[in-house]
Symmetry: C2
Subunit: 369 residues, 2 copies
Amino acid sequence: MTNSKRQEIIEKLEKLGKDLKKKIDNLENPSLKIPLRTLSNAYFDENDRLIKLGDKKQTRTFFNVGQAKKFMQTILVGAQIKKLLEQKKPAISTRQLYYILKHTIGDSKENTFDDQSTESDPAIEDIEVSINALREELGLEATPSGVISGPLIYQDIKTGDVIDCTKMGSAGAAIPPNVEDHVIKFKECTADYILVVEKFAIWNLLNQARYWKKNNCILMTGKGQAARSDRRLLARLSRELKIPVYVFCDNDAYGYYIYSVYKQGSINLAFFSEKSACPNAKFIGLKTRDIKKYDIAKTNWIKLEGHDLRRLKEISKYEWFKSKEWQKELKEMKDFGYKVEADALVSKSVEFVADTYLPEVIKNKDWLD
Amino acid sequence: MTNSKRQEIIEKLEKLGKDLKKKIDNLENPSLKIPLRTLSNAYFDENDRLIKLGDKKQTRTFFNVGQAKKFMQTILVGAQIKKLLEQKKPAISTRQLYYILKHTIGDSKENTFDDQSTESDPAIEDIEVSINALREELGLEATPSGVISGPLIYQDIKTGDVIDCTKMGSAGAAIPPNVEDHVIKFKECTADYILVVEKFAIWNLLNQARYWKKNNCILMTGKGQAARSDRRLLARLSRELKIPVYVFCDNDAYGYYIYSVYKQGSINLAFFSEKSACPNAKFIGLKTRDIKKYDIAKTNWIKLEGHDLRRLKEISKYEWFKSKEWQKELKEMKDFGYKVEADALVSKSVEFVADTYLPEVIKNKDWLD
């Protein structure tokens, strides 16, 4: 972490504490104003085309039986994060922070925390939204999953290493757990666009074909549902390089959803979504119309089942799938009654995805927005 | 893939086909002798300390109502793999092979395959054991998951890139989907040992602390249950470099099992296990005795529940956990009644795992074998 970023966060946390101390010194009830992270305070911004957290705030006070413990937990988390940053400790996981903070209070039988997902994780999120900083900026890192290849050179500030994503072999470059600008600095990128594929098997096929070289693009996969740093990396690349983003998924409700998380984020992580969304991303397939257009054999269609239809119905109600073209696509799939995996395109030929489907769809702008 | 490996596999598949043709020419019932992959033909070899596939074979004949379809499927898989290798196609996934092979037979309503996991995957495994080659050698690759760092330099034969695992930043080097010697060639390794950690969060802590530099070791994680290529990479490193392997997991039945899969493999993948096992691996923790020895706060112990106790009981019956020291450990955990995650050690201090626990345990050989 750069010293300036560390100092910035420490000062924000210090201000939180000083404001609190002022109230105590004035004999007021200590309280924190925390942006509400409930579903009712998350919304889809039609103009920016991304999910945002609204303006509603809740006041958490210490002298309140229902809030005192949560108040204490939030302060404990903030204080511990500040301490770790001041001591220049390496980043830890949210699970590790939970273990550091969990202890029995004095001679009581009461613990500071008894559960990670319902107690310390929400307190971390409260601190994130209160000081407007992602947990990665607070020195808390999650497990990454994706890989990337193509004409991108970045410097890893933590280690000093320079990573050239054209030279990472058949593995590609592992996406780091933290890709914020205080850790990852883009040094050079000449790519014309970014191609994100849902599944590793398709990424592997394209990477072996040197698709990124022939098409001068960045090629990445989050291996299914993307991890936090995969999404943040895509958002940073898209915003800072100002190049198009194309997302290639299975032709099913789950593929559509994975695309939408890359593009707009998700309601239940609205604060993170605002920072990790990639509103200019296009869905380049598989679309229902591709099945007939590219003559995919019927033996490789999969009949929609109850759970597929339920998921389709849910998705069709999301604000960000309300556009005419998406409603048409969702209806087409429902009427057609089948879904098709991107892997099925390999039955046309091993080269079909790399040499025909993707170049054609991108050239013809045959995508959904 | 190197040409010599490709040629070797093609010849093995050709022999399979020629033997079959000879039977047909002699007007015999075409048949294949396939090593049995059932649990009854897998066993733990006490001397080599690894799980092996036994000598039992089954004969699969074409003129047999119960076997004709399976016979056809095995031949289709073998023929398709040979064709892809001859055409020097890139590696594909087992799912993609299924889609390539699935079609309706002639004018019938019968498909060659209707399901991947019960039909094409078993046929792939039949081919693997019949010609004694892993699917990666047949050009079939699975999704990898692990990362690695430390003094290891390897060449990726597919791309020509040379990967220096000391220079891979905070991400580490992604473990490739195929690490067989026709794809990955070790060029230089000066490490004294290999440390495998179960979880990414611990790997991340150690990688940030440059543990691999201070202790001159290779540091890897499979992020939980290891993928095929993670296991094969460890097996190759351990066999070819002839250095010790230490596995660091949670102190619970699942951690023990993850260790045992790295070390001996698993019964239901006996053929793969024989080639990916790492019999010299030691379990360096967490052990039940560490909890008191290192004074881990009781608030960070987790009470054993029904599923923990059931898993403990199952594990205690496995041949490879029958040693006196393991039986003692399993009983100790049961009597103690608690499990502890490796992450809990961070509550001692952020540096505790890297600076105290691991160096001490390794120096004192305080492990389980």
